[in-house]
Symmetry: C2
């Protein structure tokens, strides 16, 4: 079996790493990188065999940067996983809640724990580029008046204490991650397909685009629009639909869609991702 080298953005213990270990059933080698762009680059250059990136959070919405990067790189989506995001308040050993004046984390994690941080009264949020980096920061500087918000994995990695678990304001907090690879997947059943397209400048163009799926009873799962660069107030549409390109009806829908679009790219067919609570994995 080939070694799986999986690239992700962030430091060890980041939610992306947890998602990667949940997704792959075999042992993997993880490559933590600084930016999402580097994740795409490392897979395109085949330094890593796969990449994993968050594409959508059930509370805060799409991560548009990754939609744009899917378009800018020649990779395929080959899988997805929906991970429940459980945030923990992490401190150096012996630090009590009443000592916490600063809470370090990624801006999105801070915003997902806004009510909890407010309830601390004396603590203020401090943005850091990555949740696991926030844990490392309070560990390295041995901060006694600060806490970090991150995964349980990050707390264990840095041997710090969890003062409180599940501090996210809304527990229905899931992030959907995509697996990206240089080669397309072939899926027989339980598949979904992602495409990106721009429509001709004709009345009802978007409606006509969606009709190619409705006519064939193909269920749409998500539509996302992004600005078409250099053409103000025109859009690219990212569409996820049920079914794989191994199915005739999906092939026909795509052939039909080509008649209406000026640009169309298949981003990949892959298995619909399971929703998981996440658990601790051996490194």
């Amino acid at each position: 079996m080939d070694e799986l080298r999986v690239a992700f953005q962030g430091e060890l213990g980041a939610y992306s790493e947890l998602a990667a270990r949940e997704f792959f059933s075999q042992p993997i080698t993880v490559c933590p990188l600084v930016s999402f762009e580097e994740v795409f680059n490392s897979v395109e250059s085949r330094e890593c065999s796969q990449g994993i990136v968050p594409i959508e959070n059930s509370l805060t919405g799409s991560i548009h940067e990754n939609y744009d990067l899917l378009l800018a790189h020649n990779l395929f989506i080959t899988g997805e996983i929906k991970l429940r995001i459980v945030h923990n308040l992490i401190v150096n050993p012996g630090v009590g809640l009443e000592q916490v004046r600063k809470v370090h984390s990624h801006p999105q994690a801070l915003s997902q724990c806004k009510e909890f941080i407010r309830s601390l009264r004396t603590a203020e949020p401090v943005p850091v580029y990555d949740t696991a980096a926030a844990v490392r920061l309070i560990k390295d500087q041995n901060l006694r008046n600060a806490a970090a918000i991150a995964s349980i994995q990050a707390a264990i990695d840095y041997e710090l204490e969890i003062l409180k678990s599940e501090i996210e304001d809304n527990h229905k907090n899931f992030t959907r991650f995509l697996i990206v690879s240089p080669d397309q997947e072939e899926i027989e059943t339980d598949g979904k397909t992602s495409v990106v397209f721009s429509t001709q400048n004709i009345p009802g163009a978007l409606f006509k685009s969606l009709s190619v799926f409705a006519l064939r009873d193909i269920n749409l799962l998500k539509i996302e629009s992004r600005p078409l660069q250099g053409d103000p107030w025109k859009y690219l549409f990212y569409l996820d639909f049920e079914g794989s390109l191994q199915e005739i009806r999906c092939q026909r829908a795509i052939e039909n869609l080509k008649e209406i679009t000026t640009f169309l790219r298949i981003l990949g067919s892959y298995h619909q991702g399971k929703q998981t609570e996440g658990k601790l994995h051996q490194r």
Copy 2:
């Protein structure tokens, strides 16, 4: 004539202020506020008569926070304006390009001038919460090794020098602003309407929603999806279409749409905004 008090996010000289002065033909009093939420609050409490917020940039896409705030507040959209964003490199008098080591601005402005900043070779970007605040910062601290990226208005306000104008990487850089008010507008011609809805959990629900417009040859201008809070992987759709609710065919489309949706709110009918280069206005 009532005094117009217009709230915006940012400091004096921010692009939102420029947009406000372009939009209103009469003199206005502007109220600079720290957050978008405060803009909505100040109009809801009638401290200000109107608010102006950016909703979409032609390069970077929607400002989703303001979509969410439209839903959370009981205000109407009563106008829009599309302002060309011209970025300037602003320095203290006498500072030359070769002295600039740091470039301060709002993260979005920095990202829109990425190529230009890279071309400076020795300069690194430093994020600040507002473009005009970046100008004030280099003025107040009399920085000789730093520049700010902001509007020409901000340069004039703080009596600083423009080293280079139009430094944005892509000149087709427009931001669309919405005017929000407590009372709905009545529009006869040249109107557009914004609505937000969630669909029933039935196959082809989005397709059916768009069909109520297609059947009546009503042109769709934009569709935006946002997560439905507490219901992972379900969405709210924000839709802009041509025509005002004073037109029978639009009223009928909305009546029809109600049959398919579980939630529907009219955000307002208003005149389609003109696209403007922006000019200097007297305060």
